[in-house]
Amino acid sequence: MIRFVGRRVVELAIVFVGVTFIIYVMVFTLPGDPIAALGGDRPLPEAVQAQLRAQYHLDEPVWLQYLRYVGGLFTGDLGTGFDGRPVGDRMAARWPVTITLALTAWAIEVVVGVVLGLISGLRSGGLVDRTVLVGTVLATSIPVFVLGVTAQLVFGLQLGWFPIAGTSEGWPTAYLLPAIVIALFGLASVTRLMRGSVVDTLRSDFVRTLTAKGMPRRNIVGVHVMRNSVAPVLTFLAIDLGYLLGGTVVIEAIFNLPGIGALLFDAIKTHEGPTVVGVATALILIFLATSVVVDLINSVLDPRIRHE
């Protein structure tokens, strides 16, 4: 078990360094000069530009800048934006909104997806199963911005059940509608995955053994089928949490939520390297951390992974 965790941590470190370096290089080699652009229509004097470049270390080779950046990361310094505010502070102000939104959406996916998947799997071909099939096809085929705007119009404006935009009403009312909208896509996948997994498990020999042992159906489904079916779904859920955290750009724009997605979008527009890399790095870290956690949970659920 310790070896298993150790190996995962080493893998994580390699992926972390590789991915942050690629993003760093990509952002800083984008066409256009962010310092020159700071002045807008009135070009800044050469001396001021050179001084700013030196201040942000933009006159050094990219690899040195990167090393400096990574070094800063270990001391908790995420760099400074062009407005002079530390990137760390800017992100800290935005995270709660995005995390609340993503976790709300994720919780909807977990609870509704697993339950619906289980029911459709247990009664495959039944009414619930067929309704879910149609629903999942619908949910995955409508683009998220269409869904978002429509939901806003119907539930926010016409029915008045939820606030139309902003976070002023707090959790859960302000977050529920956007969370449902972004959860729908992943929810469809979770349901289909869970359904398929349950159907496969029900067909396996050991379920027949359990029935022949005289175990009650409740126990067979609740303990054995669940634990065997949930592993592949869990892997998807972890990846999806990363996607939810990073993919909220559109929904934050529609519902005017001041989250990390909105920050990332602005930073890309203004070539603010440190902010882009900072947000992206944080997202990658979350992504990697969730994948390690899922592997650990999977190895607890399935001894075959543990003993590999």
Binding site: F206, K213, G214, M215, P303
Partner: protein
């Protein structure tokens, strides 16, 4: 006579498939008494498994059961899930064919035994349940039973998993144990051990055993009485001696005649030409990397050769490396050392085009014909493919060759437009053989070609192989675990154990006067279809 613990009367089972009723079992009657082993024998489709599943209400929803199944005097036909729950595991329990898949992979062995005791053993404390689980594992002769409780199914071998299944089945002292092909998925020496365990436990617990099997050797070994089924009906019911010595039903006689036995067929050894062998394997070493990156030797320094017109048998248990040797010849295994020479061409050193020219002349037949044939192509297309690809044949010439090949394997040439699913298992294997001999091979590799087939079908396929070999005079590498099949077909035998050759020689010598201990064990472990012989081997008189 005592009341039977299980009594089946006028049992009929239908399946509704696509709105049609397909009968599976009809007018089945039998009684099972305490302390008795009743075997239901039959080939696939005979309804033997369906009958046993009906006893525990394990049939799928599209099955309709009529008649009576009396468990301890209570009729369970049409019983509710709740009624069945009172019977399953408590009065009747069951073990299945494939033990590795019959246990839940994500729970420990101990958990799975104890959950059963929790369910049925009223008033037992946690410590008592644990003690009982250990006792059960000791009963099935599993070493270190206390440690084994913490094991997961994948940490057990197939034989050990089946022991756990037996322990679990006997946990609540059932009156009836249904054993559905309990040793079919196991190696012959492991089968021997499991049969021994079953026999000893049966003597101890006095439970009745309903044994479902296709293997007449297993019947002779374990059964007291036998029900022979065919196509859903009972052909004959009799005590085990009468079945083997004086079978009444025509079908029983045919079934027994089809079972290959060692040392019965007396036939000459093929006269061999003096030319260079078709296949020469020298010092072959095959290594696989396991998941931790360590090298595992599957084949360790094997040398053998086969001449034209000769059939060489590679025999051994799972993990012996016999299939890997076949794969090495086809270039499908990671050969670490050694030479594989076919008609004088060293396949590892030859240029790509040279090697391809030689491989064209190697035919292959695998164990499972259903998996080996493309389900979306007609059998004519499958047989014709090598002719099209390698010889460039088209149109009527191709069609002519295909129908010739179909006739050679005794299938009507008009069948070339049929699809594999329209054929039986044996017919599919004939198609696979026709494809293998399409390019007039110099070497045929047959990997367990009859292991997935019923015994009566096996006999005809073996006949076919023998006839084709006389006709085409190819060299044949015949890979098998079944010594009786080997005896019926092959000229020389190579016995493999853990990747190495332990014995090699002329068929009759190896199979009747083996020199190596392992060969002797293999021969002794395979049950023969003769109850007296089996009793003699066990050193105990036959009851009754």
């Amino acid at each position: 006579m005592t009341t039977p613990v299980l009594s089946v009367r006028d049992l009929a089972i239908d399946f509704s498939v696509g709105g049609e009723r397909v009968p599976a079992v009809h007018a089945v009657d039998f009684d099972l008494h305490a302390g008795e082993v009743l075997a239901i024998v039959g080939e696939s489709g005979s309804g033997k498994s369906v009958t046993s599943l009906a006893v525990l209400g394990l049939l799928p929803d599209n099955a309709t059961v009529t008649g009576r199944i009396l468990v301890d005097g209570t009729n369970v036909v049409g019983a509710s899930e709740r009624d069945f729950a009172a019977i399953r595991g408590r009065k009747v329990s069951m073990i299945f064919q494939d033990p590795s898949n019959a246990l839940d992979p994500v729970f420990t062995v101990g958990y799975q035994i104890i959950e059963m005791l929790k369910r049925h053993g009223q008033g037992m404390s946690g410590a008592e349940r644990r003690a009982r689980a250990v006792e059960l594992l000791r009963m099935v002769e599993l070493p270190d039973p206390e440690d084994r409780l913490g094991y997961y199914p994948h940490q057990l071998s197939g034989g050990q998993a089946q022991r756990v299944m037996i322990a679990m089945a006997l946990a609540c002292d059932p009156e009836v144990l249904i054993a559905d092909e309990p040793t079919t998925a196991l190696d012959v020496t492991v089968q021997r051990e499991i049969l021994d365990v079953l026999r000893r436990l049966q003597a101890r617990t006095n439970a009745a055993i309903l044994l479902i099997t296709h293997d007449m050797g297993v019947v002779a070994d374990l059964a007291d009485r036998v029900v022979v089924m065919r196509a859903g009906r009972i052909e004959e019911t009799a005590d085990v001696r009468s079945i083997f010595t004086a079978p009444r039903a025509e079908y029983t006689r045919a079934l027994l005649a089809a079972v290959p036995r060692i040392g019965t067929g007396d036939r000459g050894t093929a006269a061999l030409a003096e030319e260079r062998p078709v296949l020469e394997v020298e010092g072959l070493v095959v290594e696989y990397r396991n998941r931790r990156g360590r090298h595992v030797r599957a084949v360790d320094g094997v040398s053998l050769h086969i001449r034209a017109g000769e059939m060489l048998a590679l025999v051994g248990e799972s993990g012996s490396g016999k299939s890997t040797i076949g794969k090495s010849v086809l270039g499908l295994a990671p050969v670490a050392e050694g030479r594989v020479v076919v008609v004088g061409v060293d396949l590892r050193r030859a240029s790509r085009s040279e090697a391809r020219a030689v491989k064209k002349r190697i035919g292959v037949v695998f164990q499972n014909p259903t998996a080996a044939l493309d389900p979306r192509r007609t059998i004519g297309q499958s047989i014709g493919e090598p002719l099209r690809v390698h010889l460039g044949l088209r149109g009527t010439e191709l069609a002519g060759r295909v129908s010739g090949l179909l006739e050679a394997v005794e299938l009507p040439s008009a069948w070339s437009s049929r699809y594999p699913h329209e054929l039986s298992g044996g017919q599919r294997q004939r198609v696979a053989i026709a494809r293998a001999v399409a390019l007039d091979p110099l070497l045929l590799i047959a990997d367990e070609p009859t292991s997935a087939l019923d015994v009566s079908v096996q006999a005809t396929v073996l006949d076919l192989l023998r006839r084709l070999q006389q006709q085409f005079r190819f060299a044949c590498l015949f890979i098998s675990h079944d010594l009786a099949v080997v005896d019926a077909l092959c000229d020389r035998v190579v016995v493999l154990h853990r990747g190495g050759i332990v014995e090699e020689g002329e068929r009759r010598r190896v199979l009747t006067a083996p020199e190596h201990d392992y060969t002797r064990r293999l021969l002794a472990a395979a049950p023969v279809p003769d109850p007296d012989e089996q009793a003699r081997r066990r050193g105990e008189p036959l009851a009754g």
